[in-house]
């Protein structure tokens, strides 16, 4: 068993707190992606699991063993580093087999296992080359091979794809996924790239400022962000936010009102509230349609498969993603129709999603509808 359990883990460098009590449970064989902006503590957390950083407080278990005091090699983790950290003076075979050599595996068996791993990562023809003679993608494969060869219980990936170009990144993403299926070891993957996170994760952990903001499946995190931060961080173009206040009959901002499910409105009446809407869940309608917010087009971004209209509602910027062609010109007046089931409300002070408890059912329905 190699589930990972992180209990109230804290990390401080001197007086600077980096992690403020993180609690996470990763199931055996899960592919967990930790997503967050730089400096949110995600890499620190990963390195604490690996044993490269000391744990200031709290407890990390791998399987049912507390690993706080164990050396990295005793934890059964393998790690793929962002810059690969290959040994430049060793051949590919030497790099992949180094862990086995250190562990005292006999030469014949070592060679057999290295050859096998090289086949898995597609490097059979490069075994005698030095890392300096390989392309970025090939180096990445060596790094993965080096991790695989030890048959670890846990794989740790520290932004392994961020040094690759866009095309290779997509390809390596698929390979990592395939590899995970094949090896079925618990994997923890740290990234700041939301596309990587959404596509790879079974479980997505969003972190910010040393705290866990949300844990869930990628769809759950996308459709039901638990905090305003998560809403803003996930999705491109980013979620639109309108700051206003809740009254018993709806959401008010700038003298306008948007109708809201009544129980939610009543429960939070009088609170400052931020309304969040994803650009892809807004409809563009004629400027004078009833119930639509009037806005002015600033400019249109062409993305090929879709396009993003950047508009503003009396100075408040608002993006709308369209899949169909459009001939909107800057300065044109349009109407924005917000679909009631796709509105997200966050408390203006805490940033927490409103109705976290009561509206699970309705939002599940919204997920299904979307």
């Amino acid at each position: 068993m190699s589930s990972i359990s992180i209990r109230n883990v804290r990390k401080a460098y001197g007086k600077t707190q980096v992690l403020h009590g993180v609690d996470l449970e990763f199931a055996d064989g899960a592919f967990v992606v930790i997503l967050g902006p730089s400096g949110c503590g995600k890499s620190t957390l990963l390195r604490m699991i690996a044993g490269l950083e000391e744990i200031t407080a709290g407890e990390i278990r791998i399987g049912d063993k507390v690993v706080n005091r164990l050396e990295p090699r005793e934890r059964g983790c393998a790690m793929v580093f962002q810059n690969y950290a290959l040994y430049p003076h060793m051949s590919v075979a030497g790099n992949i087999g180094y862990a086995l050599k250190v562990a005292g595996v006999p030469k014949a068996e070592r060679e057999r296992r290295v050859a096998e791993v090289a086949r898995v990562v597609g490097l059979e023809d490069y075994l005698s080359r030095r890392p300096g003679e390989l392309s970025g993608g090939q180096r990445q494969r060596v790094a993965m091979g080096r991790a695989i060869v030890r048959e670890p219980k846990v794989f740790l990936f520290d932004e392994p794809l961020s040094n690759l170009d866009a095309k290779l990144r997509v390809q390596m993403r698929a390979e990592i996924r395939r590899l995970h299926k094949r090896l079925a070891a618990t994997s923890v993957f740290v990234t700041h790239d939301q596309v990587e996170a959404m596509t790879l994760a079974d479980t997505l952990v969003v972190m910010n400022g040393g705290r866990v903001e949300q844990v869930g499946s990628p769809a759950e995190v996308y459709h039901r962000p638990r905090t305003r931060f998560v809403g803003a961080f996930i999705g491109a173009p980013a979620m639109n936010f309108i700051d206003g206040a809740m009254t018993p009959d709806g959401f008010n901002f700038d003298g306008r009102r948007i109708a809201v499910e009544l129980p939610l409105a009543r429960a939070h009446a009088g609170r400052p509230v931020a309304l969040g809407v994803r650009p892809e869940q807004v409809e563009l309608v004629a400027a004078d349609s009833p119930g639509a917010l009037p806005a002015t087009v600033d400019f249109v971004e062409e993305l090929g498969a879709g396009r993003v209209v950047y508009a503003d509602i009396d100075g408040l910027p608002f993006a709308v993603a369209l899949s169909e062609e459009t001939d909107l010109a800057p300065g044109e007046r349009v109407g924005l129709k917000l679909l009631p089931q796709s509105l997200h409300f966050f408390d203006g002070e805490t940033g927490l999603r409103l109705g976290l408890a009561e509206s699970v059912e309705t939002s599940r329905a919204a997920v299904a509808a979307a």
Partner: protein, 306 residues
């Protein structure tokens, strides 16, 4: 960036050729002098033409200077110092860069300060220690009263003696410590990405294994550069070998011998031809070492993988 014009090129070449002449002229002078007879070498003005007495002069110099033994001694000294410096510098830099302990910065600064205290400055205390390497320990025992205690209890007077004069150990050890080398390694180690050490940790390699199997191969070019510089440095040592060896016949180095062969003003016709031949002999080993090592420098510079 710098504009290339014919005039500028001509000036650059002129400066370079001037520099080359300044460097090469004395060498050429030594060489021609070594090929001439005693009469020819003392003729005024000095002739830069080659004579035909080179082998005779070399033979005479070799004989008179006992260079078979002296070159061997110099080589033992230089090789020992080089090896010692390369090892000590690598280990101390490894400690300073890769380990986090309380006194780290203090050690770092102590090593740094020794840059300002070369052997020539501390030569008297160093000689005292070499004369009895256990003297500091003896002093500690005396001051703390342990030796007195032992004398009272067993009737044996403690008198520690370890004489390093007239030995290879005495020649080599005081020259081994090197701040320059430590800094060279330190700078190199700091350019090695941290992830490499972490990857080695994940692969299960301990500190010593990381040092030997990863850090040392990576710093090969550094090591060779340092070794070259230090070999020449140790080969050219004069003062310390002069002090520490009283038995010149057995432990004297080639440089001391060369000094002995420089003619003094009182002894008849000065045989500069033999002295210059001896100079050529003594110059040769460092030249060979630098020439051989240069190939490695270049190779190290081309392979810029990290």
């Amino acid at each position: 960036m710098i504009e290339r014009t014919p005039i500028f090129n001509a000036v650059t070449y002129a400066i370079m050729i001037g520099g080359l002449l300044v460097v090469l002229l004395p060498v050429w002078m030594a060489f021609t002098a070594a090929t001439q007879t005693v009469e020819a070498v003392n003729r005024i003005p000095f002739s830069f033409a080659l004579g035909d007495e080179l082998l005779t002069n070399l033979g005479a110099a070799w004989q008179r200077g006992d260079f078979g033994t002296k070159l061997a001694n110099s080589f033992i000294l230089a090789a020992g110092v080089t090896l010692g410096k390369v090892m000590i510098a690598a280990l101390s830099a490894f400690s300073i860069v890769y380990f986090n302990y309380r006194l780290r910065m203090i050690f770092f600064w102590v090593i740094f300060v020794t840059l300002m205290l070369p052997l020539e400055v501390r030569i008297v205390p160093t000689y005292a220690v070499a004369a009895n390497a256990l003297a500091p320990l003896q002093a500690i025992l005396d001051v703390t009263g342990i030796s007195a205690l032992i004398a009272v209890l067993s009737g044996v007077e403690v008198s520690l003696q370890w004489n390093l004069l007239n030995s290879y150990v005495g020649l080599i050890l005081p020259l081994v410590a090197t701040a320059t080398g430590t800094f060279l390694y330190r700078q190199f180690f700091m350019t090695v990405p941290d992830e490499l050490a972490e990857a080695a940790k994940m692969d299960g390699a301990g500190a010593f294994r990381f040092f030997v199997e990863i850090l040392m191969p990576l710093s090969r070019t550094n090591m060779l550069a340092l070794a070259t510089i230090m070999f020449v440095y140790a080969w050219n040592q004069y003062l310390w070998p002069l002090l520490v060896t009283t038995d010149r016949g057995t432990y004297g180095t080639a440089i001391i011998e060369l000094k002995q062969m420089v003619p003094n003003p009182y002894g008849g016709l000065p045989d500069w031809n033999v002295a210059m031949a001896a100079a050529l002999i003594v110059m040769l080993p460092p030249v060979v070492v630098v020439a051989l090592m240069q190939r490695w420098f270049v190779r190290g510079l081309i392979a810029t993988e990290k």
